[in-house]
């Protein structure tokens, strides 16, 4: 069997095993419930804001949320104001062309996706080393093939989670929003789902790397959260700490974190978006390989 074929076999088994163990269902339901709850919360807040706006400005009241926002969103004055606020006309136009619901959902996935990836994926390899089930496999295929297969299986699971979550947000919007645009919203959600997936892959690479380094699932899980916090702190420092001598170092370090490429995922033009996606994929496999440098030398 070719190496690609073996990777596919391991990925398929990983996915099938996840589905049977109900772990994937917990994972998917977590995404779905989180997304639906957050979308409902978002629409409730939106409705309250609109109600307040309507009473203040003496406009016609709307029973469902989104009507006033949609009107405002499309008004020239608001668009001019947003362009001035963002300071980038193209980016402002791009953001304002996205339905508000999709915009919120995209932010939600990019913010909480990494946390869920860490929660569910950081133990996968460590768990198999811990139980010894890895000993039935690693004389049949190489360690790299097995790890890559595990990563791919988790990646498919992650994609399913984002798509299901997007569907949940779309259904909530369709039921609750006044001026809901089904097709543009669906397309925007789909685009964000793909962006969030690639962004999530980088974190999956990070979790897989940590999982390769520790035999205990609990330690792997704790270390993954530690790494997640460390990576977040680097990005936070690169964003907010401006006037320091080691700022260039911070900028380089930031490029090595997924967060350093997050802003580019919001940009409409390919010149920003494509390199960001490529960077994130390189980071995903880069992290994976760094973990593998330890894993390939480990006693199992």
């Amino acid at each position: 069997m070719t190496r690609g074929g073996s990777v596919g076999q391991v990925a398929q088994q990983e996915l099938a095993d996840s589905i049977r163990s109900r772990r994937v269902w917990v994972f998917l339901l977590l995404y779905l419930a989180g997304s639906v709850a957050a979308t409902i919360l978002f629409l409730n807040i939106l409705q309250k804001m609109e109600t307040h706006l309507v009473s203040t400005l003496g406009l016609n009241p709307a029973n469902e949320p989104g009507g006033v926002t949609a009107t405002l969103w499309k008004s020239e004055a608001f668009q001019r104001m947003m362009t001035q606020l963002i300071g980038d006309r193209k980016l402002a136009e791009s953001l304002l062309s996205i339905p508000p619901l999709a915009l919120f959902w995209g932010w939600l996935c990019l913010t909480f996706g990494p946390l869920l990836v860490t929660l569910t994926s950081s133990v996968r390899i460590a768990e198999e080393v811990w139980t010894g089930s890895v000993r039935f496999v690693l004389f049949r295929t190489t360690r790299l093939t097995w790890v890559t297969g595990k990563f791919c299986g988790q990646a498919v699971q992650l994609l399913l989670a984002f798509l299901l979550s997007a569907l949940g947000a779309w259904v909530v919007g369709a039921v609750r929003m006044n001026s809901f645009e089904p097709l543009p919203t669906a397309l925007a959600l789909l685009v964000f789902a793909m962006k969030a997936w690639v962004y999530g892959l980088a974190y999956l690479g990070l979790a897989t790397a940590v999982s390769q380094m520790f035999a205990s699932p609990n330690v792997a899980s704790a270390m993954s959260f530690g790494v997640l916090i460390a990576v977040g702190m680097i990005h936070g420092a690169a964003t907010f700490v401006k006037a320091v001598a080691w700022r260039p170092v911070l900028e380089v370090l930031d490029l090595l974190t997924p967060g350093g490429h997050r802003l580019d995922l919001w940009r409409p033009d390919a010149s920003h978006l494509v390199p960001a996606l490529v960077y994130l994929l390189v980071l995903a496999f880069g992290y994976l390989l760094v973990g593998h440098l330890v894993f390939r030398r480990r006693d199992l």
Binding site: M1, S6, Q9, V10, Q13, A16, D17, R20, S21, E128, T131, G132, S133, V134, R135, F136, V137, L138, F139, R140, T141, T142, R297, R298, D299, L300
Partner: protein, 314 residues
């Protein structure tokens, strides 16, 4: 031809040395028994052979193709690990198919191989069962089944019969014997009677070193030794034995009531029987059993411990 060779293999876990310059040669087509106490390094040796552990020094040659790598010897070498747990949520048949595909089996060959191993481990009716629903013995049989997928050339079995019920132990032992000459089996076990019934070569390993390696016949002196199990104490004087068979060496284990005789080349077991048994009967020693050879357990104990039983040597 050598299927597996260890040359001065050393493996350390931190400060503890698990293997300390182990030398081992497993001939092609043999059923090879690895005997040693707990912590002697048997499991470590097996894991090293298939690359699950990294060796510190020395060399291991697998199937005359150098150190093990799945890209080179993958599918030709399999392992039955001792205390490893199968993925609990997988189904038995699906898991075996997965392992088979990973080692390069496809299509009808894969199906035939999975059917075969399920048949002889009596698991056909559990093909669709999730592993977590199986009993301990059944899980053990699945782990045995996976080691025989695809007719590998070299199979490493760590305590293969532990956890099986007596009937299954007999069945699996018979199946293992059928492999003699076709495949090379390296078996580690603490059950020395099991090894004696199965193996044609054995090695004693203690403290990570090989103490002895030879054919089973040579180790237990099958052609030059008899063990007589008595129903009570030995009442025949030792001098009567040495007068009847000049050059004989004898030992008597009073705790087991076992008289072991090691005789010179010119004597055959049948001739020794014909000479000794009448003497024992005349001296009113009840005879319960006569075995060829001295027994692996006795040889292992005497090779690894100072002798504690009274010995008569002419």
């Amino acid at each position: 031809m050598i299927a597996l060779e260890f040359q001065g293999v050393t493996k350390r876990y931190g400060r503890r040395t698990a293997l300390n310059g182990l030398d081992l040669s497993v001939p092609v087509g043999s059923i090879f028994g690895l005997v040693g106490s707990n912590g002697a390094g048997k499991t470590t040796a097996m894991a090293l052979a298939v690359g699950l552990l990294r060796l510190d020094s020395g060399a291991i040659d697998v199937l005359s193709q150098g150190a093990f790598h799945p890209g080179r010897q993958g599918g030709r070498v399999t392992l039955l690990p001792q205390d490893s747990r199968l993925p609990l949520h997988s189904r038995v048949g699906e898991l075996l198919n997965y392992y088979g595909r990973l080692q390069g089996l496809t299509g009808k060959r894969l199906k035939r191989s999975v059917d075969e191993v399920l048949d002889w481990t009596h698991l056909q009716d559990r093909r669709e069962s999730p592993v977590r629903t199986l009993s301990h013995g059944m899980m053990r049989r699945v782990t045995i089944a996976q080691a025989f997928l695809g007719e590998p050339d070299l199979i490493l079995l760590d305590e293969p019969l532990s956890g099986l019920d007596p009937r299954e132990q007999v069945r699996i032992r018979e199946m293992l014997q059928l492999r003699r000459g076709h495949q090379t089996l390296l078996i580690s076990s603490h059950n020395l009677h099991e090894l004696e019934a199965l193996c044609d070569q054995v090695a004693f390993v203690e403290l990570g070193r090989r103490i002895r390696q030879d054919s089973l016949d040579a180790v237990i002196r099958r052609r030059h030794s008899l063990t007589v199990v008595l129903d009570g104490p030995l009442t025949l004087p030792g001098v009567a034995l040495t007068e009847a068979i000049p050059g004989v060496q004898w030992t008597y284990d009073s705790t087991r009531s076992e008289l072991t005789l090691v005789f010179p080349d010119e004597w055959t077991p049948a001739r020794v029987n014909g000479t000794i048994l009448p003497l024992l009967i005349d001296s009113e020693c009840g005879i319960l059993e006569v075995r060829l050879g001295s027994g692996l357990e006795r040889e292992y104990l005497s090779a690894t411990e100072p002798p504690k039983i009274p010995t008569g040597v002419q």
